[in-house]
């Protein structure tokens, strides 16, 4: 069974460690600070497939959602998994009609969805602003606590023999004479493996660059506000209608689209924003105000609540909104890889990292332990960008 080094202790790295160790691999996770210290602690925890317009994105998300449901039943540690469905909100009749058309297409792919006129919407969510035209209810959407989920996956991986090393920074990758990646380079020395999985989110690019590999991953900054406790304010995660568009636009200006998620503790996580701001993780007061404005517009009851803190995180964006999962294509003499050796990528999840973590870990584990490409992995082959 292979020795695998996983670079990155976020939810992707934790999921890879879980599925790899379950398949019998000996896994070592290298994390430069502490578990979930990167983007995984700056997320909401939504597991969505309704915001994924292409069949490829949707299929991946749906498979992963099923895996999350299984994990909720099998992992020892609770991570506040709730499947209550989510609602996409429409402010105007026109928006509702447009959403309904999109929904019909999604329904053809098998997504369950229900168009809600205003009275039905308010029956489901009484605290929504009364002037909304309606919404679309997706009953199968779910949520987790992203940090707890990362911990739960990692602890389960440890029980299956995986080792977590925190406080270790990977500065590069070591290639053997024949070009295969054979180790992760750290200040304390090389950590070798039969396979190295690069799951370092937006920081994967720096590490890949050490061997001249250019990854098409850009940091896309997002903000989340945390409110004071407002138990009972909402019963489902809520997204404003323009959310999916904000994900898929290539525009450089900051996009703000409301996402609201109730936590088990009764606080609400409010997002979202998307902008290309390099690696800057400072919180912008302007964005905080914009998100607050959208939140109050849809949930006037928030006027009794406060923002108790906010944070920004860096999503790993790729040009086609699909992650890079699989061999990097660096086999002998730099040609396409074959078999469970060399460098594997598990990054580029852009805002869907929590949702897609299990399917990512599962694909990586399949690739490395069987040497075969699992069917689902075609759309996320890194080769689609790197083979040229």
């Amino acid at each position: 069974m292979p020795d695998v080094v996983v670079v990155g202790g976020g939810i992707i790295g934790a999921a890879c460690a879980y599925y790899l160790s379950r398949a019998g691999a000996a896994v070592r996770v290298l994390e430069r600070r502490f578990l979930a210290s990167g983007t995984s602690r700056a997320c909401d925890g939504l597991i969505l497939f309704s915001d994924k317009p292409s069949p490829a994105e949707y299929t991946l998300a749906q498979t992963s959602a099923q895996l999350w449901a299984e994990l909720a039943g099998t992992l020892d540690q609770d991570f506040e998994y709730v499947r209550s469905g989510a609602i996409s909100l429409a402010e105007t009749e026109r928006e509702l009609a447009e959403s309904a058309r999109k929904t019909a297409r999604l329904q053809q792919s098998g997504i369950r969805a229900e168009v809600l006129e205003a009275p039905a919407l308010h029956a489901l969510e009484p605290n929504l602003a009364p002037d909304l035209a309606g919404g679309i209810f997706y009953p199968d959407e779910a949520q987790v606590d992203a940090r707890l989920a990362t911990v739960a996956l990692l602890q389960a991986a440890r029980r299956q023999g995986a080792v977590l090393q925190e406080g270790i920074q990977v500065t590069g990758l070591r290639r053997a004479a024949d070009g295969r990646v054979v180790a992760a380079i750290t200040p304390a020395g090389d950590v070798a493996g039969d396979a190295v999985v690069l799951a370092a989110g937006v920081w994967s690019g720096q590490i890949a660059a050490s061997i001249g590999l250019e990854l098409p991953v850009r940091p896309r900054k997002g903000h989340i506000l945390v409110t004071s406790r407002v138990p009972g304010l909402i019963r489902h995660p809520l997204l404003e209608g323009s959310y999916s568009a904000s994900v898929h636009t290539a525009a450089e200006e900051t996009q703000v689209a409301l996402v609201a998620e109730m936590t088990a503790g009764g606080t609400v996580l409010l997002g979202s924003s998307r902008e290309f701001a390099g690696f800057d993780r400072s919180v912008s007061e302007t964005v905080v105000r914009a998100i607050a404005a959208r939140a109050i517009r849809f949930l006037p009851g928030l006027a009794r609540a406060s923002v108790i803190r906010s944070y920004a995180g860096l999503r790993a964006w790729t040009p086609d909104h699909l992650p890079l999962i699989g061999p990097a294509g660096l086999g002998p003499a730099g040609g396409p890889a074959g078999g469970p050796a060399g460098l594997y990528l598990a990054t580029g999840h852009e805002g869907a990292g929590i949702g897609l973590a299990p399917v990512t870990g599962s694909i990586i584990a399949d690739w490395i332990t069987s040497g075969q490409m699992p069917a689902l992995a075609e759309s996320v082959r890194p080769g689609r960008f790197l083979d040229n």
Binding site: F34, L35, E285, R289, I296, L302, A303, V307, I308, R309
Partner: protein, 468 residues
């Protein structure tokens, strides 16, 4: 959005000194405080009439003089105003009366003061259990004696004046118990050289307690508070040298109020958010912003003074405030640098004495690390989120060494206080359990808004959907 030449954050003695000094040299000053009036925790005059409850120490008198000087000055006093963010380029985000606003300053003086250090024990969250400072504030500001049967506990020089004031107000103080040995006070004696004021005060307070027949016991701590909806009794236990309770030496007393304090820790959150450089120095009170002799932090135009820069008391704060006020006046073009250099020279000896005095207080009376074992596994150590000592100990045993790591593994510090109460506790718990130096666990990362801001106020200030 508004602008000012000098923004002073915190209207306690240090901030008042900085503001009045700068204003006297013609600088446009905006003085900001969260409280309804100036004076900070130290002066705490009654809001209504500005009357103070005598008698006053020399430092208090000087402080009140500064408060009185405000009305004759051109200083813009902004009370009940929260500074919820500060950027490195000196933009302050404010909240007041339902509205948020931005204030841009050429110079910022941070005078945010300090807060009390807590050591958790079973029952410490019961109503009626409070810090010594809370009892002092209720007494000073509102003339309110906080309870009828009061136990005062902890360590350090805050216990004496608090107990004396409670006695004066007619409360029954059943005892004062101090964690350290009596020899700690002898060690302090050496550092008191030149601080005759403080020595006299100490004798005065001590005498008052003796006359009232109140027992003052050393080498003891409260190891549990008991009660249903509020505290009804407290257990006092003798401590060994390491600060751990000696089994079998417990006594329990009936109380309705328990005041506990283990010294002060600086309110550094604004300096941290802005990006100032920090150093860990137990003599200054722990993590403090690095400042030069002009009280400048590592950020251009940002100064830090008073207890948030080094816990040394009000007299020192006022001296440092004066120097910062002069430096601010220089930065605003009103004074040559030599004026500041001169003031530094004139006060060098006093500053050295203040440093020594503060260092002695902060090190001699620091709670012994063994006390951080008092919490039972089911005692909450993060008050906001009710995370227990057991959960924290488990996370530390699992390998967490950084405070921010505890946020992920134990979910501490996620509440509205952003770790202000639990941060110092957790750092000591990590040190106790791992044997590593306290400084190694770092500081909790703080986030804007530093204090909660109503969503409606933020929403109202939004300029529109386009945020580019």
């Amino acid at each position: 959005m508004s602008t000012t030449e000098l923004a002073v954050i915190g209207a306690g003695p240090a901030g008042l000194a900085a503001a009045t000094t700068a204003a006297a040299h013609g600088v446009q000053v905006t003085l900001i405080d969260e409280l309804p009036g100036p004076g900070g925790q130290y002066l705490a005059p009654t809001g209504a009439t500005g009357r103070v409850h005598a008698p006053l120490s020399a430092a208090e008198q000087r402080g009140h003089g500064l408060v009185n000087a405000l009305s004759g000055s051109r200083i813009e006093m902004r009370t009940e105003t929260i500074v919820w963010s500060l950027s490195a380029d000196r933009r302050l985000q404010l909240y007041h009366a339902g509205r948020v606003d931005e204030l841009v300053a050429q110079v910022v003086v941070l005078a945010c003061g300090a807060r009390e250090v807590s050591v958790p024990f079973p029952g410490w969250t019961l109503p009626g259990v409070m810090t010594v400072g809370a009892a002092q504030l209720l007494a000073k500001r509102h003339g309110l004696a906080v309870g009828k049967r009061v136990l005062v506990a902890g360590s350090g020089p805050l216990l004496l004046p608090a107990a004396e004031r409670l006695v004066r107000m007619g409360a029954k103080v059943v005892a004062v118990v101090e964690a350290g040995p009596i020899t700690a006070w002898l060690r302090l004696g050496k550092a008191m050289w030149g601080h005759w004021d403080r020595g006299r005060e100490g004798v005065h307070y001590g005498g008052a307690l003796l006359r009232a027949g109140i027992p003052y016991r050393f080498g003891r701590a409260v190891t549990a508070a008991h009660g249903g909806e509020r505290v009804e009794s407290a257990t006092i236990t003798r401590l060994n040298r390491a600060g751990s309770p000696i089994p079998g030496s417990e006594t329990t007393v009936d109380v309705d109020t328990l005041c506990v304090s283990f010294g002060l820790t600086p309110n550094i959150e604004l300096a941290q958010l802005a990006g100032c450089e920090f150093a860990f120095d137990p003599r200054r009170g722990g993590w403090t912003p690095v400042v030069d002799d002009r009280n400048q932090t590592s950020l251009a135009g940002v100064l830090a003074i008073g207890d948030m820069a080094a816990v040394e008391g009000a007299a020192s704060g006022m001296l440092e405030g004066r120097i910062a006020g002069l430096q601010a006046a220089h930065l605003a073009g009103r004074l040559p640098a030599s004026a500041v250099t001169e003031a530094i020279g004139e006060n060098a000896a006093a500053r050295r004495r203040n440093r020594r005095f503060g260092a002695a207080l902060n090190t001699i009376f620091a709670p012994p690390i063994g006390l951080y074992g008092l919490a039972a596994d089911d005692t909450p150590v993060c008050r906001c989120e009710e995370v227990t000592a057991g959960e924290v100990r488990k996370a530390i045993a699992g390998g967490v060494t950084e405070l921010d790591g505890l946020k992920v593994w134990a979910r501490v510090g996620q509440g509205p206080c952003q770790g202000r109460t639990c941060g110092s506790i957790l750092a000591q718990m990590i040190a106790l359990q791992t044997g590593r130096p306290v400084a190694d666990s770092g500081m909790f990362q703080v986030r804007l808004p530093l204090k909660p801001v109503p969503l409606a106020a933020l929403a109202a200030a939004d300029g529109g959907h386009d945020v580019a």
